[in-house]
Amino acid sequence: MSVKKREWTLKPNEEFRFEVEPKQTLTVKLTEGKAELFGTELAVDYEYQFQGKKLGIFTWHGCKLETSGPAISEYIGSETMMNEHLNMHFALENLRIQAKKENRNGPRVMIVGSSDTGKTTLAKTLINYGTRHQRTPILCDIDPKSGLISLPGTISCMVITRPIDVEEELNANIYKTSPIAYYYGSNIFDKQEFYLLLVNNIKDSIEKKLDNDDKIRSDGIIVDTPCEFVEQQGIEILKEAIELLKIDCVIVIGNERISSILTQAGKSVIKLQKSGGIASRDKIWHRQIQAKRIKEYFYGKDLTPFSQTVSFNDIIVRQIKKGMLAPSSALPIGMETNPNSINFVKIETSEILLHSILVVSFVPLPGTDDEGNIKLYTPEEETELLKKSNVCGFVYISEVDEVKRKMTVLGPNPGRLPKTFFVMGELKWLDS
């Protein structure tokens, strides 16, 4: 499909918005002037390629853009919230300077709003502006669906030292720092306690890092949140997360109800309107983007994953289950079942793993440790360790041969698979 080149002339403070299907490629070139994508400045005359994106390229100065390739939509909009976003950045800068002077924590901001309100856009913009000021803020994504930093299903965070890559975003292999991720699943209401436990885990990791690094400490944290936070059920989780992460200020986008609830609860709140250019995204879109994220994890733009065949015996897979394993009648007298408790239960290596994305944990498999001691776990110990473990990476099961009891595993790199517990999550994928 060949589509002609289109030229777009933007006046100052306008935004070029476009949507492109996940399996199509739109090329955008800045030919004149200056422009930025969520706070990352674009290079002149570079052909940026986008697949499966709904984006807005904004210009403070005015610019000319050239696009080619198929697009669902392309237009120039003028209603943006960029002035507010920029001021917000400078407000954070003031707080960072102050924090540095007084050697204390930098600003911690949480962005809250329903789906398709531009939460992630604002988070990225604030992060990018920060890095353009030589800051190294922490981007913390506690929305398990987004996969902004790691794969969908995780809550994760990362110290960001440079503006986010325009094309590959945080999946690009250009960052000087690496993410830390904890695997959750998708729906935050499913396992609320576990969700908050993981938020607490990530908070612990962050606090340890900040104790270790004054620079990062004073540069603050930007937290992107799941849209479920603004639902009736989610408000309590939201409040809890604000407490856990020691948030200084909550930015509520387009939701007066939530902002007044939080204000009444004594939180510092800033209300922002939804930006004009937000395209809503449906489930099919989300699924396609998820698949794209997985592909990017393994293949990136020019990354080489590594496929190997392993025996069933070499891999031990667990699965997160809610509620007790045993019926209450089988429990010792006096012990009650907690319907909300989380356990990592055994899952038989079989065809069920086919096309699954497995989460590689850091919990070593039972066996001989350094001193030659034989280490074994009770199921409870195993669960406790897995609950606390951050993610080592992801593998994809591309083939399962039950007869030979062997399967083919795609790992991100040619190193041997870690001898740790794997966890089957909700992610399925077809490597095409």
């Binding site: 002149v44 570079y46 003031n94 020019d302 080489t304 040619p414």
Partner: protein, 542 residues
């Protein structure tokens, strides 16, 4: 001849106040009669000697305008009687206007007249028992002149005459050194500040508070001068006396002088050269500061650096006499109005004022501050950071910007080169353990290179593995190629290992890099037993 002279004299009679249109008109007439320059000059000289003292100054402005805009024959024509005319005029005018003569003297730049003429003027004026003043024209081509300052005795000043006296004395000393030290921008600026103050004092009746504030400004200039012995000053290097509290650097931006001095006047000298540099071209000065007429006219009409240019027909702003500055306006100029004044400047100027180490405007994390628009604020992220990578648009602020940009370009180069060497590819690494992540320091992204298919390189079955690196050690770069050395988890040793690396004198190297460098194949290395190795581990690193 006489007709022309009479006609011109008639026109000159209209010039009873500092009117730009009239001066422009008279300048044009003078230009049209270039061949009769001496007639025009006679008319002007005659008028200067005949008019009331109050009308002398506009005539001198006219002289200035003709000299600079027409020049040529007029320079010679004026030169003939210049000393006499000038000293007569000087003797004639009141004290306030006398001081204004010095604004011309202070004009930075070269001279239209030979030095003996200028010396003559100075002598003539010295005779009049006043500080040396020269009628110095700026030919607009030379770099800004510099001046030095000599001690002025700081003393409590009670009345306007005393302030005036201090100012003239101080200015005279500086002017004397202006000639001796023509490259000192700092002092040139300083003279401008003093000149403006002088003009204000001369043309306006001031209340004691204003006088006190002016006096304090004189103090701010004078004390540093006191510390320098007068006899050293003329030969002092480029910056013999710095009066700006903030680190001021000489800027070769000539047109910005008047603006800088205006800021100096309004806010105290403390603003330093940031203000000057931030403003850029002189075009800004008028619209920015000219919002109040008196202030604007002061910027244009009294700033000596501009005098040469402002009188030119094309420049506006001369129409208002410095006399129009009234005390209330002057009061406005004082400190309290400073912020308001500055906020109309471009943000970079503003920012450098509000925070000494960061260009950040004061914006609070509040609803009202977030929504208030600040003009051109975005430039702090754009134009204010000049160093930029053309390939990816990254900008490099800060002191180490240049080094960072160089390192960044090297990184681009390596990345591009690798892209073209098809054999080498990179893979995503496993994430770090929590303790590793906690201590991780930003390092260039790992470009771990692996062969696409391991059995392509059977001769490299041998894997050299150096000792485990402690997880607390974030640095695992090859000292030769500066690339990160690939890390992997070795089950047999239960620790993280560097692949294909050697350790020499506590420094890590890629085996291959080290071999290449040493050209000796026998290096300290440890080879794993073959049965220790999984097939995937035998992949050799390039």
């Amino acid at each position: 001849m006489d007709a022309l002279k009479n006609q011109y004299l008639n026109s000159l009679r209209e010039l009873t106040f500092n009117s730009k249109p009239i001066i422009t008109n008279l300048t044009i007439i003078a230009e049209e009669n270039l061949s009769n320059a001496h007639v025009i000059v006679q008319a002007i000289e005659q008028q200067i000697s005949n008019v009331q003292p109050a009308f002398v100054i506009p005539l001198l402005y006219l002289m200035d305008s003709i000299l600079k805009n027409v020049g040529k024959g007029y320079i010679a024509a004026f030169q003939k009687n210049l000393v006499r005319v000038f000293s007569d005029a000087y003797a004639k005018v009141n004290d306030a206007d006398k001081a204004r003569f010095q604004t011309w003297k202070a004009t930075p730049g070269g001279y239209l007249f030979p030095s003996h003429v200028i010396a003559g003027i100075e002598r003539a004026i010295n005779v009049a028992n006043l500080p040396p003043v020269g009628y110095v024209m700026n030919n607009g081509q030379k770099p800004p002149a510099a001046a030095s300052v000599r001690p002025a005795v700081p003393q409590p000043v009670l009345n306007q005459a005393q302030v005036l006296q201090r100012l003239t004395a101080l200015l005279a000393q500086k002017n004397a050194l202006l000639l001796a030290n023509p490259n000192n921008y700092q002092l040139g600026t300083e003279i401008n500040v003093l000149t403006q103050l002088l003009q204000v004092v001369q043309t306006t009746t001031l209340d004691p508070n204003t006088l006190a504030s002016i006096n304090s400004k004189i103090d701010s200039i004078a004390p540093t001068v006191n510390s320098i012995p007068p006899n050293i000053l003329p030969t002092a290097p480029a910056r013999p006396a710095i009066h700006h509290p903030s680190p001021a650097m000489p800027t070769p931006s000539i047109p910005s002088i008047p603006i800088g001095t205006t800021i100096g006047l309004s806010g105290g000298v403390g603003l330093g050269s940031n203000g000057v540099a931030g403003l850029g071209s002189n075009g800004l000065g008028v619209p920015t500061l000219g919002s109040s007429a008196g202030l604007g006219s002061m910027t244009v009409g009294s700033a000596p650096g501009l005098l040469g240019q402002s009188i030119a027909p094309k420049t506006s702003g001369l129409g208002i006499l410095p006399n129009s500055i009234n005390p209330s306006l002057l009061a406005n100029i004082n400190s309290s109005a400073l912020n308001g004044l500055l906020s109309t400047l471009n943000p970079s100027t503003l920012l450098s004022m509000t925070n000494s180490d960061q260009k950040v405007p004061v914006i609070q994390l509040t609803q009202s501050d977030i929504t208030k628009p600040i003009k051109n604020l975005y430039n702090v992220l754009y134009d204010d950071i000049e160093l930029q990578c053309k390939q990816c648009a990254l900008r490099f602020p800060g002191e180490n910007g240049k080094e960072e940009l160089t390192a960044h370009l090297d990184w681009h180069f390596r990345k591009n080169r690798r892209k073209h060497e098809k054999k080498k590819t990179s893979s995503r690494e496993w994430y770090l353990t929590e303790p590793e992540w906690v201590i991780e320091q930003p390092i260039e992204p790992t470009e771990n290179q692996v062969a696409p298919v391991f059995f392509d390189q059977p001769e490299e079955q041998e894997v050299e593995v150096q000792s485990c690196i402690p997880t607390t050690d974030p640095i695992n770069k090859c000292e030769i190629c500066k690339e990160t050395i690939e890390k992997f988890y070795d089950d047999d040793n239960d620790g993280w290992m560097l692949r294909g690396a050697v350790k020499v004198n506590d420094l890590f190297y890629h085996q291959t890099c080290y071999n290449d460098k040493q050209d000796t194949p026998s290096l300290p290395k440890r080879t794993l037993d073959s049965d220790d190795m999984e097939p995937s581990k035998k992949i050799r690193v390039q």
